[in-house]
């Protein structure tokens, strides 16, 4: 196991820069998730960490060693690919033992390590099968087994669950997390799915357009997003955003174009009249008589909770309520944002002003 340091790393393809100086410290044994929309550079960063892409500038170190010019096989890492990349002409056991065989381990040792990994992942009775004879989840597990047998310093996962169906994805998510708790190997995990990021990570790194927007513990990002992008990206259903201008004083609020007053717990001086974006998560909208009037558009019950799409002025908001309230489309309701859970972002820069 080892810590990983990514220090001001840049990457250009031709003259086009896709990573603009990314710095990510990763502690020994930490489970770090790189998350962001497609094209944000997260996979490129992971591939640079693996040694599959050159580093244009900056340094990457694994443990105490700078690995910029180190071959992938010398980096002591293992990677799980999105399409698993199992060798189709080898059995499960041969797939898992391939790296050991290249390392010229003796066959008794290979058997021992492969069997141990197979036991951890419940693959013991599949060892003689070929990849084409396995289901998606089993292949996924073999891909992880191949990583485990090497006992590397760092595990790299590149969107490993995106080829699985929804139910299996949830199950494998738990399995990977459990595996990490057991092996405690430093892990870097790339995904575009913020729920995977939230549920699995010790630390989330939110990336967007080649920069790190914010990094931190999942709930820290959820509760205190640094900017509008992170606020909108983390959380499902996504945070509601309403444009307006800030009004200070004893009871500060944000006033929207149609005159609705959205409450705030506190404000800062010098911001009066500033055009801002008011952010409120769906679960922080309550039914209350002193709320903002809204028209119910769609009601989506999921059983444990109900999502209500409501329209204020010209803007749709999503509210999530846990009690079973008899609302139907067309109803006029009053929604009140929980003042202390509201976020205020600068309209121009998107940076957080108050929260």
């Amino acid at each position: 196991m080892a810590s990983v340091k990514i220090q001001d790393v840049r990457k250009s393809f031709g003259g086009f820069e896709v990573l603009h100086g990314v710095t990510v410290p990763i502690e020994d044994g930490e489970f770090v998730v790189l998350v962001g929309p497609s094209g944000c550079g997260k996979s490129t960063l992971l591939r640079m960490l693996a040694g599959l892409e050159n580093i244009t500038s900056g340094t990457i170190s694994i443990g105490e060693r700078v690995v910029n010019d180190v071959q992938p096989k010398e980096r002591d890492i293992a990677m799980v690919f999105q399409n698993y990349a199992l060798y189709p002409h080898m059995t499960v056991a041969q797939n898992m033992g391939f790296s050991l065989k290249l390392r010229k381990e003796n066959s008794a040792e290979i058997d021992k390590l492969v069997n141990r990994a197979a036991d951890i992942l419940g693959l013991r009775n599949l060892l003689d099968r070929y990849p084409r004879q396995l289901s998606g989840g089993q292949r996924q597990r073999v891909a992880m087994g191949r990583a485990i047998v090497r006992d590397p310093q760092v595990f790299l996962f590149d969107e490993p669950l995106s080829n699985l169906d929804a139910k299996l994805r949830v199950a494998m998510r738990t399995e990977i997390k459990e595996l990490h708790q057991r092996l405690k190997t430093t892990t870097v995990y790339v995904t575009h799915d913020q729920i995977e990021a939230m549920t699995m990570a010790d630390k989330i790194v939110v990336m967007h357009d080649g920069i790190v927007e914010q990094m931190g513990a999942p709930l820290e990002l959820y509760d205190h997003p640094d900017n509008r992008f992170v606020a909108g990206f983390i959380g499902s259903p996504a945070m509601n955003f309403l444009e307006g201008s800030l009004v200070g004083g004893e009871t500060p609020y944000v006033e929207t174009a149609n005159g609705s007053k959205l409450p705030l717990a506190a404000s800062r001086t010098g911001l009066d009249g500033k055009p801002v974006v008011y952010g409120i998560r769906p679960e922080h909208l309550e039914f209350a008589d002193d709320g903002v009037e809204a028209e119910v558009i769609v009601v989506e019950p999921t059983g444990s909770e109900t999502q209500i799409v409501a329209r204020i002025g010209k803007q749709d908001l999503i509210a999530v309520i846990r009690d079973r309230r008899a609302v139907k489309p067309g109803d006029r309701v009053k929604l009140r944002p929980v003042a202390k859970a509201a976020h205020v972002f600068d309209k121009e820069t998107g940076k957080r002003l108050i929260n």
Partner: protein, 303 residues
């Protein structure tokens, strides 16, 4: 959610039964005969007739060969193995067969080895001009042998390889490498990139990736390149005719034409026997590998 779970299968069943109703008129026997069996029968007859004619001629007694009035030309009475035994025991036919096989095997081996390396480099090693090199190799394939055989003859002469099997072994790759390279390039492209990256992380060198990952997966492609090259060498006529002169060194296609045609006298029996025996090894080869051949032309690597 439950609604969703129940409805789509119902819809799917309806669509399915609809479809089978709509298409089922094609399943009747008369229409199958018209659309499938008659065309197939015609194709098979056209393709196999030359074989039949060849086999028939090689076992016909001499008097039946030309006399089409007293004998049915499409049948044989009192077949004889005279031509075949004469071919095998009174001419150098076994030697010609051996020459052909030796030349074809050596040229094919040489070509496939070169093509594997070329195709892998063009497809997977990112170097400047890889595309251009690929295109140039293909251009080389477009130059017909009928233009090249005179200049090549002087090259062969200059190297003192005239009338030696080596001349053909070295010249045939000019035809074989371009085609095999293109065929293998297409095949290598279907092998997922991640497999190689994964092998790279697993600690394999480029050479190990090629020999332990790529080649085992490209076996169908290799087999079809092999069959194609081997067939081309086996049938090749113009270079063999130009570069070889002594009877001992000839290959089958050239030898039977030279030895069994005497001025304007065609020894049809021996000629056809020679052609028949000469095509058998290829038929056997195809029969063994036909599945791989087809899968290489149509398929890709499945995980």
């Amino acid at each position: 959610m439950t609604d969703h779970a129940v409805h789509p299968p119902a819809v799917a069943t309806v669509a399915k039964s609809d479809e089978s109703d709509g298409m089922s008129y094609l399943e009747t026997l008369p229409s199958r005969i018209v659309t499938l069996y008659i065309p197939l029968f015609i194709i098979v007859v056209i393709l196999l007739f030359p074989f039949y004619w060849m086999a028939l001629t090689s076992i016909k007694p001499d008097e039946q060969l030309i006399d089409m009035d007293s004998f049915n030309p499409f049948w044989v009475v009192k077949p004889t193995f005279k031509h075949i035994s004469k071919l095998l025991f009174e001419t150098s036919y076994p030697r010609w067969l051996w020459n052909t096989m030796y030349v074809a095997a050596a040229a094919t081996f040489l070509s496939i080895t070169a093509s594997v390396l070329a195709a892998y480099a063009i497809v997977r090693l990112r170097f400047k001009g890889a595309q251009a090199v690929g295109a140039l190799i293909f251009m080389a394939y477009l130059v017909p042998p009928s233009i090249l055989f005179i200049p090549l003859a002087s090259v062969i002469h200059a190297y003192g390889l005239f009338d030696s099997p080596m001349s053909l072994i070295l010249v045939y790759p000019t035809l074989l490498i371009p085609f095999s390279t293109w065929l293998l390039m297409g095949y290598f492209k279907t092998i997922p990139f991640e497999l190689e990256e994964c092998a790279l992380i697993d600690g394999a060198s480029r050479w190990q990736i090629l020999t332990k990952i790529i080649l085992p997966l490209a076996v169908p492609g290799l087999i079809s390149a092999f069959i194609f090259s081997f067939t081309l060498c086996w049938n090749e006529f113009i270079y063999a005719l130009t570069f070889l002169s002594s009877t001992q060194n000839k290959t089958v296609p050239v030898a039977i034409v030279n030895e069994f045609v005497d001025g304007d006298i065609y020894k049809w029996g021996s000629l056809m026997a020679g052609a028949l025996v000469g095509s058998l090894p290829l038929v056997i080869l195809y029969a063994f590998f036909v599945e791989h051949y087809v899968s290489a032309m149509t398929g890709a690597v499945k995980e």
